[in-house]
């Protein structure tokens, strides 16, 4: 029997690293539907899961793929699916079911350019707002953006850990370049990887209430078949999990769904800062755009500009507090992203007029030329 964690140094794509991260995190059920540029995640899972006692199934569409991982998650197993824009759109309704029923699972979106079929084999970051608001109704979830194959490995583990801890679907918002590029990926020893599992209920089964929150606002989650006779519904429900069609029940449920995320932001939000101590022009970026952004920062520094980079690893929930604080002391934010300004607007909202948020829009298909970002830094410094 092979070890589940392939400790060592590898030269692999982001998609494969994502799959390896999932297996290292303990994912043992994967349901998906082929779609470029995420197919390789499924291909690798199909090959790897039989080695480690897991189950792979290629479902009939992405709606079925996400439905299958939600179902499987209730048996106590860690589950994942992977897709790209069009499939992500199809998953939106059941993403809401996952949020509402507090079902841990990980959804990888290797983004391509849209709208519609767009540029299937080329990169984009146009699904960032869909990740936040794509399913109907108000809700909170977690989205993470990897910038490299190495990130794909670690961030998929992070996604599983947050998903299990907070009982919420977690999105890994990669993109075609991160997914398809091959780079060195170091996989550590299994015992060096921290894994989190969902809280399990204790105490008498007949007194168990499915959504009675624990200390951090998250309710313990039993597995199906353990005799808890749970009822799980996408209808507005009370703490027993029973449907309750009242304004009060809706308010209570929403407070719980929102609270468990909003009250734990320090634990959920991961960011990185580069040359930020004295920076007055701050690039805010995520995913592949971080890497072009870093080149632009280095170039700008050579020219004497005080540029720095604030990297969003967790994009949702958005690090509002940090942007707010930075807005008081910096001259401007520069936001390069492979869309026409989705996260730029979020930065602008949090800066609250104290510093401008200048976009470096790109319609997708390829990454920014660092010179374009540098040009914007120069303009912002004026």
């Amino acid at each position: 029997m092979k070890p589940a964690v392939r400790t060592g140094s590898h030269y692999i794509t982001g998609d494969v690293a994502c799959a390896e991260g999932a297996i290292a995190a303990g994912c043992r059920f994967f349901g998906a539907y082929p779609i470029t540029p995420a197919t390789e995640v499924a291909e690798h899972m199909a090959e790897r899961l039989p080695d480690v006692g897991g189950t792979f199934i290629q479902m009939e569409d992405e709606i079925a793929a996400i439905a299958s991982i939600l179902g499987a998650s209730w048996t106590g197993v860690k589950t994942m699916t992977a897709t790209s824009g069009p499939g992500f759109s199809l998953m939106m309704e059941n993403l809401g079911l996952g949020v509402c029923t507090e079902t841990p699972c990980v959804i990888v979106n290797v983004q391509r350019t849209g709208p519609s079929t767009g540029l299937p084999t080329q990169t984009g970051q146009g699904d960032m707002m869909q990740a936040r608001w794509g399913s109907h109704g108000d809700y909170e979830l977690i989205a993470i953006a990897p910038s490299s194959p190495q990130d794909c490995f670690y961030h998929t583990i992070l996604a599983f850990n947050l998903s299990e801890k907070y009982r919420v679907p977690v999105l890994v918002m990669a993109d075609e370049i991160v997914g398809h590029m091959s780079e060195k990926v170091v996989i550590p020893d299994a015992k060096e990887i921290t894994l989190v599992s969902r809280p399990k209920p204790k105490g008498r089964k007949d007194r168990f209430r499915l959504y009675e929150p624990g200390p951090n606002g998250v309710a313990p989650m039993p597995a199906i078949g353990e005799g808890y006779n749970v009822h799980v519904t996408g209808l507005t429900h009370d703490e027993r999990g029973y449907p309750s069609m009242t304004v009060e029940a809706q308010e209570q449920m929403m407070a719980r769904l929102k609270g468990k995320i909003r009250n734990n932001l320090d634990d959920i939000i991961h960011t990185e800062e580069y040359l930020m101590e004295d920076a007055d022009i701050v690039i805010v970026s995520y995913g592949i755009s971080v890497r072009t952004g870093l080149t632009a920062v280095d170039e700008a520094r050579k020219l004497g500009y005080k540029a720095g980079l604030f990297r969003l690893i967790t994009v949702w929930p958005f690090p509002e507090g940090r942007i707010k604080a930075l807005a008081k002391k910096v001259k401007a934010f520069v936001v390069p992203e492979l869309n026409l300004g989705q996260i730029r607007r979020e930065v602008e909202r949090c800066a609250f007029g104290r510093a401008p948020a200048i976009g470096v829009p790109h319609c997708g298909g390829w990454v920014h030329d660092p010179d374009d970002i540098l040009k914007t830094i120069k303009e912002a410094a004026r």
Binding site: G31, D51, G53, E60, S68, G71, S73, I224, T233
Partner: protein, 289 residues
């Protein structure tokens, strides 16, 4: 009579229901409750470990079944009960997974999942309560509505050909296919019992009156009338060729057990195949490396 002399009044299927959620929302005369009773009776007679039974519903009148039965139960999204159930079954093969939903949910919006689960011979039982219309939303035309029947989105009568669900399930590979009306209480119970004892994709269709919408709009009388009418119009033909069991508006309804065969399930196929091709390398599900 003194209170202590009274015989305790207890519903015989109480153990299988979430009594704290009763009364249910179904209309008087609706057949869904009867099918739930048959299901509970079948469960009682089965030798299954009831903790290992999961019931999955989609959306609609029948979609509410999951909320009333005392098993691990899921009320999912419209049409997606079958893929959700697929995940449950594959991730915990010990479970007996039953999908309990309506015709709109299973054959309309969820039709794609239905045919693929049958094709894979996924080891689940699908109980489809067919009332010929979308009832929860107020009586719209469905993929099962017989020709000429009148519904709110077919105000001049239906002119679309309906599905013959038994034929569809059979053609896609289901290993057990039966159809009854909701007045065939013992037959439905027996069919559920048989299907629960089987491995593979089982499909039981139960024709049920929708009194409030379908019956009223088509002037078919009250619940009892229609219940009896369907029963009287049914003709039992076990093993009937499913191609011949179409349902016409107020015509005869062929009922019976149409298909009962055995073939390896998805999981059996997967395990056999991977063991054959991978040998010792293959770690069956649930074994920790």
């Amino acid at each position: 009579m003194k209170p202590e002399e009274r015989v305790e009044e207890r519903n015989p299927i109480e153990d299988f229901l979430r009594m704290d959620r009763i009364p249910h929302i179904w209309c008087p005369g609706c057949g869904i409750g009867t099918v739930v009773t048959s299901f509970a009776e079948a469960m009682k007679k089965s030798e299954l470990d009831l903790d290992k039974v999961a019931v999955v519903s989609g959306i609609g009148c029948t979609g509410r079944v999951a909320g009333y039965v005392k098993f691990d139960s899921f009320h999912t999204t419209h049409g997606r009960a079958i893929p959700f159930a697929t995940g449950l079954k594959l991730a915990n093969p010990e479970l007996k997974v039953v999908v309990f939903s309506g015709d709109g949910d299973i054959a309309g919006i969820g039709g794609n999942h239905f045919i693929h689960a049958a094709r894979r011979n996924m080891d689940i039982l699908v109980i489809c309560v067919n009332n010929f219309n979308y009832a929860m939303t107020g009586g719209q035309v469905a993929a099962t509505t017989p020709l000429t029947a009148n519904l709110s989105t077919a105000p001049f009568g239906n002119f679309e050909y309906p599905f013959n669900l038994a034929y569809l399930a059979d053609a896609c590979g289901a290993t057990y296919v039966a159809r009854w009306t909701s007045l065939h209480i013992r037959r439905v119970t027996k069919s559920i019992q048989e299907a629960l004892a089987k491995r593979g994709f089982s499909f039981i269709e139960v024709i049920t009156p929708c009194v409030t919408l379908y019956a009223r709009r088509n002037r078919l009388g009250d619940g009892l009338n229609l219940l009896k009418y369907y029963y009287d119009k049914s003709e039992m033909k076990h093993g009937a060729d499913t191609r011949t069991v179409d349902i016409d508006f107020q015509g005869k309804i062929i009922v019976g057990k149409f298909v009962d065969k055995d073939k390896p399930t998805f999981l059996e196929c997967m395990n056999t195949h991977l063991q054959k091709t991978l040998g010792d390398k293959y770690v069956p599900y649930g074994v920790k490396p």
